[in-house]
């Protein structure tokens, strides 16, 4: 009964553990695979088709309703705008996630994209922004959408890149927008496409021709496949692009067109709480653009909640795991709308941090593995100059660098459109262009780690060997380790464009790329100036520049006479643990291990009942062993072994002798019945077994050790402290000097004798020998008989199994005959012989086995 209960408890516990594991896994998997609520396709009547055609465009849209929303309930709405080249389908995951978080979500393809009609007008207030307002009208009329007033839904608008600009512009033009989340987008389209990092310069910057070309070409293809110059763009935008692409210039009309499509034109009108994301790996819309949006909104309306996040990734891809970045942004966006669209009564709750940034660590092991990032936060947004600035002395002689004719070969920093592949270049310091194109100014090794958060600045003097119309230079901060290997953070360079440079040197304050980068102690910071970069339009004429440092601090603290410095912005911040705190894991592990230990304790084998005094050494009662498949190896075996006898267990091979002996030693658990040895019921590890020596189905020896070591180690492993009687045992083994040879070298007979000797170690009260004479020669067999007879004196008991009758006949006083798993006969040898008419035991045995199991004594 006890065993049954234990087993039940055991089964229950295992089931419990398996259940916990399964549930945990299922929860984990469920979290990772978003169950997308099916959207309803719909059409939105948008703004006018063009300046000359007032007919509205039709926009293809999907509406996602939260599955949890009851029929009479309302929820705030969110419009999700897609990026350039995308459609409503490319934001399906974001839309579904927001719907799951309880918002009514509208995703529509912008005009000129997906199934929507119309031409691309780059988020023009007259067209795309009008479309967005029309979408808000549509939401206001939908059942289930919460309203602020008639025709005014509670609505947020979210988007990245092209969609981010639409979100900001719509928030500027349409006062019904209640919250904004805009990611990796521009502040001024012109300053994004024409990079200028010379501080205080109003010269148009260096044209990002590769990015612009990629951007424009993704709007070129028409559905019918015709090849056109302008594709799906409006004529105005096509003209502006062609102008820039051909000459690298922008007409005043083009400039005005771009400005109307730039959030910078409306940031002073944005009063909705705004979450602004910027990508650290973004050479198209760098963090400066995000920064400009944030600072302009905060300056115009200081009370508007604005949060800025400089996340890993961006248009260049970056090193960080994109899945992790997407999840982080999704979580922040949902949180932002939950706070400011009021489905969480949380607007008055603790103010959200004003600034978050990610610090990316590349993977050291492989360029394939995605890097990880850690997120830090600061309560106020410090801008790109940091809340503190470290001045790092930099040094280096004036250096001459060559702008090659035609701008070839050019350096690679980032590779637009290639995502993470380009980002890798930065890990290896970027690929330098041709020889003599780069000037480098180095700091001393840093004495402590510096984490740059923002845009460092430096002041350089630039002279040219001949008068030139146009100068394009690319400055960058690099981190040089003590092996001399250089890393270009985020693969970013700062383009500088100077015009009408004469032979007179000019001093330029340079705004270096806005980065988040760790420069560990021992590394150096370097400011480099390069004449080429393949992503930009370069002047075609050759020139040789002389670049030198300027005495006096960087641009911001003009302390004349001091040594040249690189001004590095830093931010006092605290890390945010993105998931659970680190200590939770060891605690969890310990908790589970304690649980597992508890299972072990509850299922531990119970000690047997107290042994009874006196009685025979072995009582076998109703013993049976049935193997899976119904094979009964042993069936209803009963016998008792009195003290001081040599008992023979006799039977042909397969009679069940060895199985019975194994059950007597607790090696095999009987299906039924029991074995009592010295009054204790045998179970695995029963203490009574320490009084039994056994030799079952051949010896078990460590082949790599000598016979003596085997005996010694077996004795030490057996937990007995008495006298092992080693001398007697060695005599029985009779191995002579071979006892010190490795067992590997023994013959079968030698192993057999050593195994029997091992069973006799410590002279146990009961000796179980299974076929002990196998492999022994006749003199040794004779000797063994003497040993066994002698052993049984002094009250010790011996059980010998054999299929050889003669052996049993000559050695044993009592015999148990087995056949087919059952006891066929048992009793004293003489009695058996007498009952069977004085024949030899061999004949009796053959009789018995032949007759089956009817005969008992």
């Amino acid at each position: 009964m006890g065993r049954l209960r234990t087993r039940r408890r055991l089964v229950g516990l295992i089931a419990l553990i398996i259940g916990v594991v399964v549930v945990a896994t299922a929860v984990g998997l469920a979290r990772t695979s978003t169950s997308v609520p099916a959207p309803e396709a719909m059409t939105i009547v948008g703004g006018p088709t063009s300046g000359t055609d007032a007919d509205p465009v039709t926009l293809d849209a999907d509406l996602y309703r939260p599955t949890t929303l009851g029929p009479d309930e309302t929820a705030p709405a969110v419009i999700v705008a897609h990026g350039f080249g995308g459609s409503k389908d490319s934001v399906a995951q974001e839309a579904a996630a927001l719907a799951e978080a309880g918002f009514v979500v509208l995703a529509y393809s912008a005009r000129g994209f997906g199934e929507s009609a119309g031409s691309i007008s780059m988020n023009s207030p007259d067209f795309e922004v009008a479309d967005a307002s029309a979408a808000i009208d549509t939401l206001a009329a939908l059942p289930g959408v919460r309203l602020d007033g008639v025709g005014d839904p509670v609505v947020g608008i979210a988007g990245g890149s092209y969609g981010g600009a639409l979100a900001l512009l719509t928030a500027g033009y349409d006062p019904r927008v209640d919250a904004v989340a805009a990611d990796i987008t521009w502040n001024s389209l012109e300053s994004s496409l024409f990079g200028q990092s010379a501080l205080g310069s109003d010269t148009r910057g260096v044209y990002k021709e590769l990015w612009s070309g990629l951007f424009f070409s993704s709007g070129l293809t028409l559905r019918d496949g015709t090849v056109t110059e302008c594709g799906r763009f409006t004529p105005d935008w096509c003209r502006a692009y062609t102008e820039a692409a051909v000459d690298g210039t922008v007409s005043p009309e083009g400039s005005a067109l771009m400005w109307r499509s730039s959030p910078g034109s409306v940031t002073d009108r944005i009063t909705a709480p705004t979450l602004l994301g910027g990508g650290q790996a973004d050479s198209l819309f760098p963090l400066n653009e995000t920064n400009a949006n944030a600072e302009q909104i905060m300056e115009a309306n200081p009370d508007v909640p604005v949060e800025v996040v400089w996340h890993a990734g961006g248009h260049d891809g970056g090193l960080a795991d994109p899945v992790a970045v997407t999840e982080q942004l999704r979580e922040m966006t949902i949180g932002w709308f939950q706070t400011y669209l009021g489905s969480r009564a949380a607007q008055e709750q603790t103010p959200r941090p004003g600034f978050e940034y990610a610090l990316t660590e590349g993977s050291a092991l492989s360029d394939r593995a995605a890097g990880t990032f850690e997120t830090f936060s600061s309560p106020t947004y410090p801008g790109i100059r940091g809340d503190e600035r470290a001045e790092i002395a930099i040094a280096g002689p004036p250096q001459q660098i060559l702008a090659p004719a035609g701008g070839i070969p050019a350096a690679f920093s980032s590779v637009p459109g290639l995502g993470g592949v380009g980002a890798l270049l930065g890990q290896f310091g970027g690929v330098m262009g041709g020889a003599q194109q780069t000037a480098t100014f180095l700091s001393e090794p840093l004495t402590s780690t510096i984490t740059t958060v923002g845009s460092p600045t430096a002041r350089l003097r630039i002279a040219v060997d001949r008068p030139v119309d146009e100068v394009a230079l690319f400055a960058a901060v690099r981190i040089i380790d003590d092996q001399g290997r250089s890393q270009l953070p985020a693969s970013l360079v700062s383009p500088l464009r100077l015009t009408d440079l004469g032979t007179e040197p000019v001093v330029v304050d340079i705004e270096l790329p806005t980065i988040v980068a760790n420069a560990p102690a021992g590394t150096r910071l370097a400011v480099t100036v390069t004449t080429t970069d393949q992503a930009y339009r370069l002047p075609s004429g050759p020139a040789i520049y002389t670049v030198s440092l300027v005495e006096g601090a960087g641009s911001l603290a003009g302390d004349a006479g001091a040594s040249p410095v690189l001004v590095v912005p830093t931010v006092a911040s605290t890390p945010i643990s993105s998931s659970w705190p680190v200590w939770i894991w060891p605690v969890l592990a310990i908790a589970v291990l304690v649980l597992l230990a508890l299972v072990l304790v509850l299922t531990r084998p119970r000690p047997g009942q107290a042994p009874r005094d006196g009685g025979p050494p072995v009582i076998v009662t109703g013993l049976a062993k049935e193997y899976p498949g119904g094979v009964r190896a042993v069936d209803s075996v009963d016998f008792t072994v009195p003290r001081g006898v040599v008992l023979g267990l006799l039977g042909p091979n397969g009679a069940g002798k060895s199985t019975t002996m194994r059950m007597m030693m607790g090696l095999i658990t009987p299906t039924a019945g029991s074995v009592e040895v010295f009054g204790e019921q045998i179970r695995p590890g029963a203490a009574a077994l320490s009084r039994v020596g056994c030799f079952i189905e051949g010896p078990g020896l460590l082949p790599h050790l000598s016979g003596r070591q085997n005996l010694d180690l077996f004795w030490r492993a057996s937990g007995r402290s008495g006298d092992p009687h080693l001398a007697e045992v060695l005599t029985i083994a009779g191995l002579g000097s071979a006892i010190d040879r490795r067992v590997r070298t023994y013959s079968q007979g030698m192993r057999q004798r050593l195994g029997i000797a091992q069973a006799m170690l410590g002279m146990p009260d009961l000796l179980l020998l299974d076929e002990p004479t196998n492999g022994l020669d006749p003199p040794q067999i004779k000797e063994m008989r003497e040993v066994l007879r002698a052993y049984a004196q002094d009250g010790r008991t011996v059980i010998v199994s054999s299929h050889l009758l003669s052996e049993v006949e000559q050695t044993c006083s009592i015999v148990v005959v087995m056949g087919g798993g059952r006891v066929i006969a048992q009793g004293e040898v003489e009695v058996l012989l007498r009952e069977h008419h004085g024949r030899r035991l061999e004949d009796v045995f053959l009789d018995l086995v032949g007759e089956g199991h009817q005969v008992t004594t």
């Binding site: 590349g362 592990a589 030693m665 002094d794």
Partner: protein, 289 residues
């Protein structure tokens, strides 16, 4: 002789098969010595390859593509060399060795027929498993320590003793170099608990030592292949490969404990589960070997 009614005087289950005795039983085995020798041979072979190889000048080019950073630093000093050997070793070699020591533990006793004599001695079954697992883990850890120590000494002789330079940038002083190498070594040992635990379970389930080792290694390989399939997405978070290289976090200027902490928890729990199943199975297993 008076009738004895209790166990042989002097028998105590607590004295059976101590870890020390089990260590003596295992230490002289050829496979133990071979594993230790491999720990010394690996750095020797790599040093020979670097010194004699065609591209041995400079920062140690000529190793696998992509994995430049860590390996490129191998020749910069003893600690870096030891680190690189740990990186090489942790990929597969140490997994095999852990699987060998643990997978062979019980199954080899079964194959020698010694298992039944130990259990009949009687060594309590759980005590036998404990001694087996403990000694298997001790031998695995010893191989790991031998690998690190040999790499350090060989690296010091071949490349000098400049302290650790992190492939993530920055250098450490001598004390910190030991600390970081210690953390990496310790973490690798803990992550090895996964193949070790699996092999141990196999060792209890089968009587064929090679079968146990092989099955464990095959499972580890299959799991690694699964881990390489990016399409599995975040399911991979539940695979051990996610954590096998997390020791890189110890090479940051400030140690990144997060992934390592998860890896430690994962490995301990996995080992615990394997050990539990092995124990419950062995408690009631019929010993027919």
């Amino acid at each position: 002789m008076t009738p004895l009614t209790e166990a042989t005087p002097g028998y105590s289950a607590r004295r059976t098969l101590s870890v020390r005795v089990e260590l003596v039983r295992q230490l002289r085995r050829r496979r133990t010595l071979i594993a230790f020798a491999v720990g010394i041979a690996l750095p020797l072979i790599v040093v020979a390859a670097v010194k004699l190889g065609p591209s041995s000048s400079g920062g140690g080019g000529g190793f696998g593509d992509g994995d430049l950073d860590l390996v490129g630093l191998a020749t910069s000093g003893a600690w870096n060399f030891a680190l690189t050997m740990l990186f090489f070793g942790s990929g597969f070699l140490l997994t095999i060795i852990a699987a060998m020591f643990l997978g062979d533990s019980v199954a080899s006793e079964a194959s020698w027929s010694t298992l039944r004599y130990l259990l009949a001695a009687p060594v309590p079954r759980r005590r036998l498993l404990f001694a087996k697992a403990a000694v298997g883990l001790i031998l695995t850890a010893s191989t790991l320590v031998i690998l690190v120590a040999a790499s350090w000494i060989i690296g010091a002789l071949a490349f000098g003793t400049s302290p650790l330079t992190s492939p993530l940038g920055g250098s450490f002083d001598v004390t910190e170099s030991w600390g970081r190498i210690g953390i990496v070594t310790g973490y690798i040992m803990i992550v090895l608990l996964i193949p070790a635990g699996l092999a141990f379970l196999m060792s209890v389930l089968t009587d064929v030592p090679l079968g146990a080792v092989g099955a464990a290694v095959v499972i580890v390989i299959v799991v690694n292949i699964l881990d390489a399939i990016e399409a599995l997405g975040s399911i991979r978070t539940f695979l051990p490969g996610e954590y096998s290289n997390a020791w890189v976090g110890a090479l940051n200027a400030t140690i990144d404990w997060d992934t390592m902490a998860r890896g430690v928890a994962y490995s301990l729990i996995a080992f615990g589960l394997f050990a539990l199943i092995a124990t419950l199975r062995f408690d009631r297993k019929d010993i027919t070997s």
